[in-house]
């Protein structure tokens, strides 16, 4: 149930901060910023250990989109779930816009919904087509009889 907290000296659950801090044996081992791997966040430029140049260019056997704000394909990319059908066309239109345009993102969200419907349709076709045909045939027979 909602409860109003008292003012000033109010403490959150779990007691007083000072005692908590003292009870904590790992307190402040990284107090010195020199012990923090991300300080400063941006370092002087230097290749990372293990890095290799030049980076060979990956070849795609399936269509892979790059957004229009980017000049070239990066050397490495994913090739999962290549674009297909109507959702694929929508995605193509989305990537024709650079990624700072809201339209790029809105079209992608639309394509995602269409993709789901396309998959549902494709999945239901094996039984949907025969049952629709049977329904149609049944309807025709009924009409013929009652005529």
């Amino acid at each position: 149930m909602p409860q109003k907290t008292t003012q000033r000296s109010s403490r959150a659950k779990n007691g007083r901060a000072k005692t908590r801090a003292k009870a904590n044996p790992t307190l402040a081992v990284d107090l010195d910023p020199a012990n923090r791997p991300g300080v400063p966040m941006e370092t002087a430029p230097k290749p990372l250990a293990g890095a290799r140049v030049p980076i060979a260019h990956q070849h795609a056997e399936v269509p892979v989109f790059k957004h229009a704000g980017r000049k070239e394909m990066p050397p490495v990319f994913g090739t999962a779930q290549p674009p297909k059908g109507l959702s694929g066309l929508l995605r193509k239109a989305a990537y024709a816009k650079p990624d700072h345009k809201p339209g790029h993102w809105m079209l992608l969200l639309l394509a995602d919904r269409v993709d789901v419907w396309e998959h549902r349709l494709r999945r239901s076709l094996p039984w949907a087509a025969p049952s629709a045909a049977a329904f149609l045939a049944g309807g025709l027979m009924w009409r013929a009889r009652s005529a």
């Binding site: 801090a21 990284d30 923090r36 370092t43 957004h67 990319f77 993102w105």
Partner: protein
């Protein structure tokens, strides 16, 4: 192989799909031993990340054994056990060279917003993820870290993401010793942010969430005070009062785009998609932190925009810091913390499942049921 696949909002299943293969000479293929489910995966599950295609395999937090090695890979060989950072980073581009591996420009054709990420839609490069029996790992000499022989996979699994992420969140808070810190979100990322705030010398750490068992977990695991925002009237006023009427020195957003707490943002962001998710916690951070204070945003938000009180931040003289985690650079340092017993990384694991039960794991984690803090999948059993 068997893999988890996305089937549309709120629906995932495990199915057969082709094994991954070497597609670039710097690739390896890993046999996945552990793959965790992350709060970020929930944004995908709920259909909030643009260009999440049906069939996509999620999973960006994993360990594995090297199965196949590309021609140009020199540091890894078949049989090596590795933990892999979630960002796919080349190690040589403008950003990687400056330590910003989370911003690598050589692994994502789809957007300049982020680097390539495993199993995180085509907006981050169109790579399949690790919630599967096998996974392709590009730039294998740069990202993956070998697991020390005397350590099991689960002890280091979270070096792949949530531990460095939580650490970076605290680091971006610029704690110099004695600061008061409020961490929004008592999920795995928030928990490690709390731990890290203590490591950096915070004077007082308060966790905010609305799930009672998670607050309870935070009290035990991270030794923090807690506030349930559903049990106090106005959370901003409540927190300001806790800190002498001014608010804390540092606020950390470890919640991201699916925050509870504001009907308006949920309707606008999650319902109507007029903004990219619910930025409720950014708003709370900006309003709660003291003037001149520091807001660190590690919760994920997407493009193109959100309604956030930037004018308030300007007038209060705040420092706002944020980024994807630059995971790789934190791994050796945090490995040492784990080895020295300063952080019990695998202590956040509450549930383990075989891969076949991944959909159940997703729903358990998404609905915050059964005391779930972190779920780990075991695609090849307990080995």
């Amino acid at each position: 192989m068997r893999a988890l696949t996305y089937q549309g909002p709120y629906r995932v299943q495990v199915e057969e799909k082709p094994d991954p293969r070497i597609e670039h000479p710097q690739d390896v293929v890993l046999k996945v031993t552990r793959a965790a489910i992350c709060g970020s995966d929930l944004h995908l599950l709920h259909g909030l990340v643009p260009d999440t295609r049906v069939g996509c395999t999620f999973g960006h937090e994993f360990t594995g054994v090297v199965e196949e090695v590309g021609k140009e890979v020199s540091q890894l060989k078949k049989g090596d056990r590795v933990v892999v950072p979630f960002n796919i980073s080349c190690g040589t581009c403008f950003y990687c060279q400056r330590g910003l591996t989370g911003n690598c420009e050589n692994s994502n054709p789809g957007s300049d917003v982020a680097s390539g990420v495993y199993g995180y839609s085509h907006t981050t490069g169109g790579f399949d993820g690790g919630q599967a029996e096998y996974v392709r790992v590009p730039f294998a000499d740069v990202g993956p870290m070998k697991i020390p022989d005397d350590m099991d996979d689960e002890s280091v699994l979270f070096l792949s993401d949530i531990l460095p992420t939580g650490y970076q969140a605290a680091e971006m808070g610029e704690i110099k010793g004695g600061e008061t810190v409020v961490v929004f979100g008592a999920g795995p990322v928030g928990l490690f942010a709390m731990k890290s705030a203590w490591l950096m010398g915070a004077g007082r750490v308060v966790a905010v969430d609305h799930v009672p068992y998670r607050l309870e977990f935070a009290r035990k695991f991270a030794n923090v005070e807690t506030v349930n925002f559903k049990e106090v009237g106005d959370i901003v006023l409540h927190l300001k009062e806790l800190f002498e009427g001014r608010g804390p020195d540092v606020c950390i957003d470890a919640v991201g785009m699916e925050a509870e707490g504001s009907r308006a943002h949920r309707v606008l962001g999650l319902g109507l998609k007029l903004e990219a998710g619910a930025p409720t916690v950014i708003e709370w951070c900006i309003n709660t932190v003291r003037k001149g204070g520091n807001v660190s945003i590690i919760g994920v938000y997407g493009p193109p925009w959100n309604f956030v009180p930037i004018g308030t931040a300007m007038n209060k003289g705040l420092t706002l810091r944020m980024n994807q985690a630059n995971t790789r650079r934190y791994m050796p340092h945090l490995l040492e913390h784990i080895q020295k017993g300063r952080i019990d990384a695998k202590g956040v694991i509450t549930h383990r499942f075989p891969l076949e039960q991944a959909p159940d794991a997703y729903h358990l984690f998404a609905q915050k049921r059964d005391g779930c803090v972190k779920c780990v999948l075991m695609p090849h059993g307990h080995a």
